[in-house]
Point group: C2
Chain length 461, copies 2
């Protein structure tokens, strides 16, 4: 067993250098969903490999049919556990660019209030800043002790923001190399600025694009209006039918596999004291828009949703064009909970849409990823060790929460590698991930590094 | 009175030169709805003024707060009538550009079948080709006789495709100069390739943009989905409520002022022998999508509509983005008939939308033009003269029809200048106006010129 104090000291002393390294990584616009940025994704992977090698990892860029993986290995003392750390180096698109106050790829340290600093830019919170907290903890361990306290394998993917098409085949092909005692997954958040959290449930996701077509060309709405089918009108009718007036989803069998949350869990969540006004107030809202009669935490942690993430059809430029579009499309996603089956949800939605397509219109579907929800066990020994380590670092003790978002990797680790995950991260709900002006708290970055040092120490005891 | 034959001969001999002139005008991308093309609109106006001067018109570019007008005057014999010819030199946008087979601004003469030639490009049919048929008829008259058979004033506007904001003030300010015995308006079509038509009714138009806003930023649909209001969902609900299952518009008082078409008129239209399959078959459709139980001609000529001309919100690029948009918008237009009041329709729609905006969302409206429907008198003397002249030129006699589109100028001439309009044009329903690959029949261009020569002669008798 190695002493923790010099590791924490090394992290404190090296903070500025660690910020500079993160800025280098943020500078690479690794937008995975847009094929135009494929070379940048590879560059981000190469940057990480080079950095991990300086720490002493055996690291390499590993090709896939899509963006490459980064895999790195480092030994630990005999008898120590073996952990797999997962993060992703790809980021979301940055449009609309005009809403950013600064260049999204030129990270800045900004003092937003006296003593309160943030790191700005795309990927600072999701997920480059988060994954670097772990890398920096490893670097400090090597600096202080010349060794890591346990065996560490690192896996960084580059397709997390675009449905992870290469991930499953890669895990299957490299199962033996990647299997560890458990995984550490950092793509999650704190409960609040003072309170670290461990996530024990995550919603699943089904993404689907619906394209409705009618005439074989755009039509003049004077000449054909009233006679010709309008795909925007058909699409609006279809989407409007998805929710009833109480916010419940009307797709047949959609709620199959959804369980009611046990009352003691609901009570725990209630105990966190978060009102709908507080939760939604951060983004300028105040009234929950989901199923009636449920708390806002239950809505985002334990209830499924149907969301329309994008819609387009006809003339959308400046001014007006009296046109009836030849086609219109929507990007639709479903958040899943408990035992909802992604494949069944996708089929149920497609059947629901097809039933509503009138004569003269056709519909095409394009799938965009799917993963079931995750529910982790509350009684694993590493969960309690991590909880203690986190509680030592932060002003308030760690809490067990759930997550509204999806981290498909957690299901894949469970199903393909037989490995549970410990979900710890330092993001805050106002980090504006996926939006303009994404930021990461400097305290998340610094204390996040220290937290991983503590967790590695605790897990190795 | 002057002889018609040499005028027609001059038109036949000058056809190639007239095609070259039209190509010059089409080459100017005078897209009025997009501010980026303002200078091109002015260039088109200047081109027309220069051309009209070569014919002997006293022509000038007349500034407005928007795109300029072209006004030109030419004397006629004492005692001859005074006609005002109206057209517009602005054109629709050309997106999506990738669907065009040729450069939309590089007009080509294409033989699409043996002996069947078309002129391709944006504005060839709407309205540059049409207005040049009249200019060429005047040119040929001057060439053959050194004079016109009647007094002619020409008015070309440059904002017809963007709501004509400057038109009314210009007509009001120049009423004395522009008032004639009647107007000739060329922005209309033939019944079919062999049958010329005079339009006696036109639908009105109300354009409206609806912008719905919720959160103060785009949100991650995992973090906030199920709790936060989604503007795309709200917009879909609003638009879906506009039509009932029978295609009838549900906005309260929407049908105020709509009259049932007299049965003898419906019978005349029935006599034209056009089936829904034929009308819609041209554009790849077959089933009327408007109010149930009405013929396709009644739907487009005598019934009001609500059309969604454009919609956009959230992520619409390639791939997928799990975002809840901060805002979404739709461009909506209403075609009006009979005595429907544009201002009342606009207000009724806004009230209808406002009622459906939930807590946490706001709505903004942007008006985009409005004009009532037009019903012209069947018994004016110039109508019967024009019908006869047209019947002399084309294989089949002229028919009286209605129009689904709006030509606000006709109402303005009536209301502001106390002047009725004769609506004659040579477009065909497959000209793809407002769409990619717009074309104008070479026969429309050539026989259209000859038709105007005949009409001018007939009106002057």
């Amino acid at each position: 067993m190695t002493s923790l104090a010099p590791v924490l000291d090394a992290l404190d002393a090296g903070l500025d250098a660690s910020i500079a390294r993160l800025a280098d990584l943020v500078r690479i616009p690794s937008i995975s969903t847009d094929p135009a940025y494929a070379a940048e994704c590879r560059r981000a992977a190469e940057w990480l490999v080079a950095d991990l090698k300086t720490i002493g990892f055996a690291a390499s860029v590993r090709d896939t049919p899509g963006h490459p993986m980064v895999v790195a290995h480092h030994d630990g003392p005999a008898g120590s556990p073996h952990v797999l750390f997962y993060g992703h180096y790809d980021v979301q698109p940055v449009d609309p660019l005009e809403l950013w106050h600064d260049d999204p790829f030129d990270m800045k340290v900004k003092e937003v209030a006296p003593g309160h600093k943030v790191l700005t830019g795309r990927g600072t919170a999701d997920d480059k800043g988060q994954l670097m907290t772990f890398v920096e903890a490893c670097r400090a361990y090597k600096q202080a002790h010349g060794a890591l306290p346990c065996r560490v394998t690192i896996l960084f993917e580059g397709e997390e923001e675009s449905g992870s098409p290469s991930l499953k085949p890669f895990l299957e092909a490299n199962a033996k190399e990647l299997k560890a005692d458990f995984a550490l997954v950092c793509d999650t958040g704190m409960w609040d600025r003072d309170t670290p959290a461990i996530s024990t449930a995550l919603r699943g996701l089904v993404g689907e694009e619906v394209i409705i077509r009618a005439a074989d060309r755009d039509l003049h709405s004077g000449e054909f209006g009233g006679a010709a089918a309008n795909p925007v009108r058909v699409l609006a009718k279809v989407l409007a039918a998805v929710h009833d007036d109480d916010g419940r989803i009307t797709i047949p069998d959609f709620y199959d596999g959804v369980e009611e949350t046990p009352s003691q869990i609901l009570k725990q969540w209630e105990g966190l004291g978060l009102t709908a006004e507080e939760f939604l107030g951060e983004v300028g809202l105040s009234v929950p828009a989901g199923e009636k009669g449920r708390s806002v935490l239950e809505l985002v942690w334990a209830r499924p949703t149907a969301e329309f993430n994008g819609i387009s059809g006809g003339y959308t430029g400046k001014g007006f064009k009296t046109v009836i579009a030849a086609e219109a499309f929507a990007k639709v996603s479903f958040r899943l909970v408990h035992k909802q089956d992604p494949a069944k949800i996708r089929e149920a939605f497609r059947a629901f849409v097809r039933e509503r397509i009138p004569a003269d219109c056709t519909v095409e579907f394009q799938p965009h990823g799917g993963s079931p929800a995750i529910q982790l066990s509350y009684d694993s020994p590493f969960l309690s060790k991590a909880k203690e380590a986190l509680s030592d670092e932060w002003p308030k003790p760690a809490v067990m929460i759930a997550m509204g978002g999806s981290i498909p990797i957690v299901g894949d680790f469970q199903n393909l590698l037989g490995m549970e995950s410990l979900l710890v991260g330092y993001g805050l709900s106002d980090d504006r991930i996926h939006s303009p002006n994404e930021k990461y708290e400097l305290s998340s970055f610094h204390k996040g590094q220290r937290s991983w040092a503590r967790i590695l120490a605790a897990l190795s005891r």
